[in-house]
């Protein structure tokens, strides 16, 4: 009998007419949709990020940046002597909050001071209404007016600005006013930062941003004939230690690495839905084999051979995967619209400002989704198809109606589970390297597999364990217990899938709660100031806004104030990578707040650092750069490399890339920097914190554009940002649970189909419809309980992997493990709730069983 005939007459009819196939299809589609949506969102965000980086770089082949921040413009003289350099474009930039127009108030604007004569060779500027080069050059001349700026069309349209209108930004309490001289088209550079970018003449920028004689960056176009590596070395030798020469792409290498880890974690999380979908197909086919034994026997009797039976079931599985993949991709594309938005916001908040990412579903991702569906399905189908193929015709024709549990190899599965668990443990013990944690992900997958292998034995143990307790309960409990034990083969894959989804949820919740708890402890220890003051834009973006130190002195002089700690943060290039260098009044900080040091006496550590060249390094940075207490390191300053000694290494969860802390006297000394970014105000005993913050707000708030917040509100705001970043994580978890829910519903539907006669008997001996419903619900409760029980144990171990292996490698943080006891209740509610929800329709169907058909003999 040819395979085509079998597929047409057998498979197609089963696939089209069996409801559980549709349920499986929905589950698989949902699983794939989650995976695809994350892939689309990751791709869109990366694409937007790269486009923005490329637009910013333009034709630039090399760029020069100061290792300690802005650098002296005299460097240009040396560069102009360099024959290999064809074009030079110096830049000065600042990100500042907008004051006017009011509709854009507190939005951040990147203001770029450009060299009008050079800039056109580097980046494409398309100006509204000007088409040829001469017109563009004449438009550029308008920027010679120190009040003129170019805005983007997008920004102007959003805030109804036209040429000649005013725009002002705030800087250190002063308001800088400009007039719109031209509008850049929404293309290339005009699209960056969602259009929140403006251009002005470099001289104006130096003057107005207080950077006279200083540059933030120099872009270069070099002779294409020359190898860049050689030129970089040549330039670095000529220009000295104070600057770094690099390719534009190297600028964001660190950010890209963090972004990669972040996206990888999301992808891994979304793969859980695929894992659940895999079990769904596996279970559907396994049940199908059990259900169609007679049919298989008949086919074999009619001359169908084993390979044909194997292919029949494999192709049925693949068909589910193919259509599931197709619909999954379409659903994923819909879901991605939301995920892209949330991801863009999260990435902007955590790593780097990126423009709103354009949504697209490219053909390769479309194909990828379907291929994944097919591969997952093919993999899931192997065992059930093999089971079908190995059936002996005579036995099969006997048509054993319900799932047989004879000869179930519990011992073998337990050995496999132990092996997988041991392997996972060994992988987790491998040394942690910063970056992608392959061993961690592999260990997590093995751990899930290990616990899945233990599911059948747990069902058996659970069933035997509760038998005594349900003996004297309502009959539904006893009957459901019997069913559970009777159909381990059918129930195990469903419970495994459910357990997998639930275990991931448990582990992620433990991880987030550990993270949360750690951050809370860290905030409590390090932010003990009663009132915190900062420029209004401080919390929102990569603002360059700061305030003069005089404000600190004025506030410190108030009767109600005990002390004020001035906090200043700068980005320096340490070992060629950006690192946050924080400077603060360590004496004040030591007296009122703290750092959580990895080791050493805090008093001694502070004592060494106050006023001296001892610094503190965050644990993340120390791990990444292999720094230790007592090491001597060279810090780039405007006065050259200055040796500092690492006094202590402290836990920090505020920055991704790591942080160094020095006493503010050092930043004043080496950077001549008197500005501060934030004020940490400690009040005298008995002073009302709310009244004081109101006083500060009325006195310095409006005038200087400062915000003052109480410690409690500040912490609340930090935690709100923290919670926002885990929004996608929770959403992914819930979708995996929904897929698992479909699995339970599927299994219960099958269970009811198989037990029609039994339901008929029950009804004929007096079971009411509600009682039949209760039996099915009780069975679902047992499945939920077992799934929950294993998920809690598996989730616990998974959380250890997430916290101490995967997270540590991806982000470098050491989190304090915290097991939130409420997770026990939450997971119980989720497990039982999901199971009951999944059982609702099957239970209703069971109660409505046609009794005469159910008890009919044939």
């Amino acid at each position: 009998m040819s395979q085509q005939i079998l597929l047409k007459f057998i498979s197609l009819r089963h696939l089209l007419h069996e409801k559980r196939t549709w349920l499986t299809l929905i589950g698989v589609a949902l699983g794939i949709s989650v995976f695809v949506s994350i892939r689309i969102a990751n791709r869109s965000v990366l694409q937007a990020y790269h486009q923005s980086v490329d637009a910013f770089a333009g034709e630039t082949t090399l760029e020069i940046v100061g290792r300690s921040g802005p650098f002296n413009e005299r460097l240009l003289i040396a560069l102009r002597k360099e024959a290999a350099i064809e074009k030079i474009s110096p830049l000065v930039q600042s990100v500042l909050p907008i004051v006017e127009p009011a509709s854009a108030a507190e939005e951040m604007l990147l203001l770029m001071g450009i060299d009008l004569l050079q800039e056109q060779d580097f980046r494409d500027y398309e100006i509204q209404g000007e088409s040829d080069e001469i017109e563009i050059t004449s438009a550029f001349e308008k920027l010679l007016d120190p009040e003129s700026i170019f805005l983007t069309e997008a920004f102007a349209a959003r805030h109804r600005l036209k040429i000649g209108d005013a725009l002002s930004v705030r800087m250190g309490g002063d308001v800088l006013s400009f007039k719109v001289a031209a509008l850049l088209k929404a293309k290339d550079i005009g699209q960056m930062r969602d259009g929140n970018i403006a251009f002005l003449d470099i001289a104006t920028a130096q003057w107005r941003f207080g950077k006279i004689g200083q540059l933030d960056r120099i872009d270069l176009i070099s002779d294409v004939q020359l190898a860049l590596d050689g030129l970089i070395t040549q330039l670095e030798n000529r220009l000295g230690d104070g600057v770094l020469v690099r390719r534009p792409k190297q600028r964001n290498r660190h950010v890209e690495k963090m972004l990669f880890s972040f996206q990888m974690n999301l992808t891994a999380l979304s793969a859980i839905s695929l894992f659940v979908g895999l079990f769904l197909i596996y279970n559907t086919l396994l049940v199908s084999v059990a259900h169609r034994k007679k049919e298989i026997g008949m086919l074999r009797a009619l001359g169908v051979d084993r390979p044909q039976i194997f292919r029949l079931f494999t192709i049925e599985g693949i068909a589910i995967g193919l259509f599931g993949g197709f619909f999954g991709v379409l659903m994923g594309a819909l879901l991605a619209r939301w995920v892209v938005q949330v991801l863009s916001t999260t990435v902007t908040a955590l790593y780097v400002p990126i423009p709103p990412s354009p949504f697209s579903l490219p053909l390769p991702l479309f194909v990828e989704g379907i291929v994944i569906g097919v591969l997952v399905a093919a993999f899931s189908a192997i065992y059930p198809a093999w089971q079908a193929a190995r059936l002996k015709p005579r036995e099969a024709m006997e048509g054993i109606y319900s799932s047989e549990e004879t000869g179930f190899k519990h011992g073998k599965l337990c050995v496999l589970g132990s092996g997988a668990g041991l392997l996972a443990f060994l992988l987790s013990q491998m040394p942690i390297r910063w970056g992608m944690s392959w061993n961690g992900y592999l260990a997590a997958a093995l751990l899930l597999a290990a616990f899945s292998f233990f599911v059948p034995s747990t069902i058996l143990a659970f069933s035997r364990g509760i038998r005594y307790f349900v003996r004297n309960r309502a009959p539904a409990w006893r009957l459901a217990q019997g069913h559970l034990e009777q159909a381990i083969r059918r129930n195990a894959p469903t419970i495994s899938a459910f357990m997998g989804a639930l275990a991931m949820m448990v582990s992620v919740v433990i991880m987030i709660e550990s993270y949360r708890k750690t951050v809370l402890i860290w905030i409590d220890q390090t932010i003990q100031a009663d009132v915190i003051g900062f420029p209004a834009s401080y919390m929102t973006s990569d603002s360059d806004e700061s305030m003069p130190d005089i404000i600190r002195s004025e506030i410190a002089a108030l009767d109600t104030v005990e002390a004020v700690d001035g906090y200043r943060s700068r980005i320096i290039l340490f070992r060629d990578a950006p690192v946050e260098l924080a400077a603060r009044d360590l004496a004040v900080h030591a007296a009122h707040s703290d750092y959580l040091f990895r080791k050493g006496s805090r008093d001694r550590l502070f004592q060494d650092a106050i006023g001296g060249t001892t610094l503190f390094v965050s644990e993340v940075l120390a791990n990444r750069l292999e720094l230790n207490e007592g090491d001597s390191i060279q810090i780039p300053t405007p006065q050259g490399l200055i040796p500092f000694q690492i006094g202590g290494i402290f836990y920090d969860y505020g920055t991704d890339g790591g942080k160094m802390v020095i006493d503010r006297s050092q930043i004043k000394k080496y950077w001549q920097d008197q500005q501060i970014d934030a004020l940490l105000v400690y009040i005298k005993e008995g002073v009302d914190v709310v009244s004081l913050s109101q006083q500060l707000r009325s006195q310095w708030g409006t005038r200087q554009g400062l915000s003052f917040t109480t410690q409690r509100d500040f912490k609340t705001e930090i935690m709100a940002i923290f919670d926002q970043t885990f929004l996608i994580t929770y959403a992914l978890e819930w979708i995996a649970i929904v897929v698992a829910l479909l699995g339970i519903a599927n299994t219960l539907f099958v269970s009811i189909l198989e037990r029609q006669r039994e339901i008929g008997i029950l009804r004929s001996i007096g079971a009411s419809q509600p009682q039949v419903i209760r039996i099915v619900l009780a069975e679902a409760v047992y499945m939920g309980l077992i799934g929950n029980l294993i998920a809690l144990v598996c989730g616990f171990f998974l959380s250890l992997l997430l916290i101490f292996v995967i997270n540590k490698a991806s982000f470098g943080w050491t989190l304090q493990f915290h097991f939130p006891p409420e997770i026990l209740l939450h997971s119980f509610i989720v497990a039982i709730g999901t199971a009951l929800l999944a059982a609702f329709l099957p239970a209703r169907k069971a109660a409505r069983t046609d009794l005469k058909e159910a008890i009919a003999y044939e």
Partner: protein, 226 residues
């Protein structure tokens, strides 16, 4: 005890509706041992299903203890099956995951009897059918005859007024079948039950007070035995 007035059952079909029972009128007295006999497909099982409330008549009326069941809801029939109507089937129809004692106790538990009482009664019922030594055995460990004894014990344990048996010996050898018939006769007589049994068994005739012969969905004749 039970009466049928012009009861018909038609299974609908778009082109060929199937008439399973055609205007059956019948009355069965309390304590009688009645047989329903006739060829396969004549409507015996349909009649039993209607009497047990497992299916509803298309027309006509069934009276139970003089009360019309025409307005009965599913829950009313369930209540009857819990306390007044016992059912026995050809394939024993025991629940495979319950022991013999649990199978017998189940209807009592379903109607809310305390577990201890249900257990006590199930042991007594199994003792009556000669299976006191098989209380904790699963159906898979019992022979066909033993399984049917358990099914009888289960039906009797609720002390029903009416016992409906559909081919209870159909799946047993003649010796065991005879034992089961003797058991049923003895039990019904001892408890004063009404038994309506659909069967092909000729052996059963010797136990019956009344034999209702059916043919083509109708009652062909009724034999009353002294």
């Amino acid at each position: 005890m039970i009466a049928l007035k012009k009861v018909s059952k038609i299974y609908p079909h778009s082109t060929h509706p199937v008439k399973a029972l055609n205007e059956i009128s019948l009355s069965i007295d309390k304590g009688s041992f009645c047989l329903l006999m006739g060829p396969s497909g004549c409507g015996k099982s349909t009649l039993l299903n209607l009497l047990g409330g497992l299916d509803l008549p298309t027309s006509g009326e069934i009276l139970f203890k003089g009360q019309s069941t025409i307005d009965f809801k599913d829950s009313d029939w369930t209540a009857l099956r819990r306390s007044e109507i016992g059912m026995i089937f050809q394939f024993f129809n025991l629940l495979p995951m319950l022991t013999a004692a649990e199978n017998v106790a189940l209807p009592m538990l379903l109607r809310g009897n305390p577990p201890d009482l249900a257990k006590q009664k199930s042991i007594a019922a199994l003792d009556k059918v000669g299976l006191a030594h098989r209380l904790d055995h699963l159906p898979s460990a019992l022979s066909g005859g033993e399984m049917q004894r358990v099914a009888i014990a289960r039906a009797m344990a609720i002390s029903p007024l009416l016992l409906l048996a559909d081919e209870p010996t159909g799946n047993l050898d003649s010796h065991t079948g005879n034992e089961i018939l003797s058991l049923l006769a003895a039990q019904t007589k001892a408890l004063g039950l009404t038994l309506l049994m659909a069967t092909h068994s000729q052996q059963a005739r010797s136990f019956a007070d009344r034999i209702i012969f059916m043919k083509d969905s109708e009652i062909e004749r009724i034999e009353t035995r002294p």
